[in-house]
């Protein structure tokens, strides 16, 4: 087999870029993919060393980013089923949201869940730092309306005329509910992926 130095450089550059695009894969898996694509290119271009033939072969495979992207969707979902990190899970759900309506719904519910859970934990932290200014405030306004709100101000003073309903209970409730909400949201995401996402390897019956 004769491959000119120039052609070899083109192939190597393509494979190096593909390898870079597959950086989130396990080393072994990424190397396996790259070696298989290398074998494909060499088989397709064997006997023909023309730069046109090599360019044609590489074009048929798509750009390294496109090719890696086709592998990545599957890999993301496989990782989502193994992971214990909400960030990895959310990343996979975002990818799912770009693919289907179910994905969009699951992603939005998860974003709301994580945001509420995270906010509760933040309020606990704020309560510990600014105990007087953080609380679930109940206020009877001069115009006769009534309002209820969870807030924290860094000024260190409670909202005027407001009464804190929870006091230090906020810490206890926030510590119980915040992490619980985060865990439940995470489980909801994993469960949804297992339940609703199927690799489209064959048409659904």
């Amino acid at each position: 087999m004769t491959v000119s130095v120039e052609s070899q450089k083109t192939i190597d550059a393509y494979l190096a870029e593909l390898r870079r695009q597959l950086r989130e894969f396990m080393n072994e898996d990424a190397n396996d993919i790259v070696e298989e694509i290398r074998a494909h290119i060499l088989d397709k271009t064997s006997g023909a060393s023309s730069t046109e033939k090599i360019a044609e072969t590489l074009a048929a495979l798509g750009t390294p980013a496109e090719l890696a992207g086709r592998y990545r969707t599957d890999e993301l979902f496989r990782r989502a089923q193994r992971t214990r990190s909400p960030l990895v899970s959310l990343h996979s759900l975002f990818r799912w949201a770009t693919l289907s309506l179910t994905g969009i719904v699951v992603f939005l519910v998860s974003v709301v869940g994580y945001t509420l859970g995270g906010a509760l934990v933040l309020f606990v932290v704020a309560k510990l730092i600014f105990p007087r200014a953080t609380g679930l405030w109940e206020s009877h306004n001069p115009d006769g309306t009534w309002s209820l709100g969870l807030s924290s101000s860094s000024g260190g003073t409670p909202p005027p005329g407001a009464h804190d309903l929870l006091g230090w209970w906020l810490v206890l409730i926030g510590l119980a509910l915040g992490p619980l909400l985060i865990v439940l949201t995470f489980r909801f995401g994993s469960w949804s992926i297992r339940r609703f996402w199927r690799p489209r390897a064959w048409p659904r019956a």
């Binding site: 087999m1 396996d32 993919i33 070696e35 298989e36 694509i37 290398r38 074998a39 494909h40 060499l42 088989d43 397709k44 064997s46 072969t57 048929a60 495979l61 798509g62 496109e66 090719l67 086709r70 592998y71 599957d74 496989r78 690799p199 390897a201 064959w202 048409p203 019956a205």
Partner: protein, 138 residues
Amino acid sequence: MEDSRPSPAPDSAEKWEIQLRKGSLELAILASLWEGSLYGLEILRHLESSSDLVVVEGTIYPLLSRLRALGLVDSEWVESDSGHPRKYYRLTAAGRRRALEMARVWEQFSGRMASLLEPLKKGSPPKKEPPLSLKEKS
């Protein structure tokens, strides 16, 4: 007044055909491996020569990787005379069962579709429908 019904997009038949081909690709790959193990490029050539499935080269390898993750095919690297190893795929027991199951569904479906499409072969023009106002009165 102008007819406001949407007319079918000129490329909709083409899109449908693409979806149909995509949907049958997995069965075609499993069927290609029925007789024995093949490497990626051999599968591509087999599909092109024995069916009119023209497969975009960049899609077959991720698809094979997915079939492997699903446990339907297995793979191993084999040294070759060409100077570089090649990754051969073969059906697993689950892959064989799946291929048979898909082939059965395919046969059944295509058989029924064929009888449904029988009238279209006659090529006779459709009967004129009565105007809507007459149908409503009757």
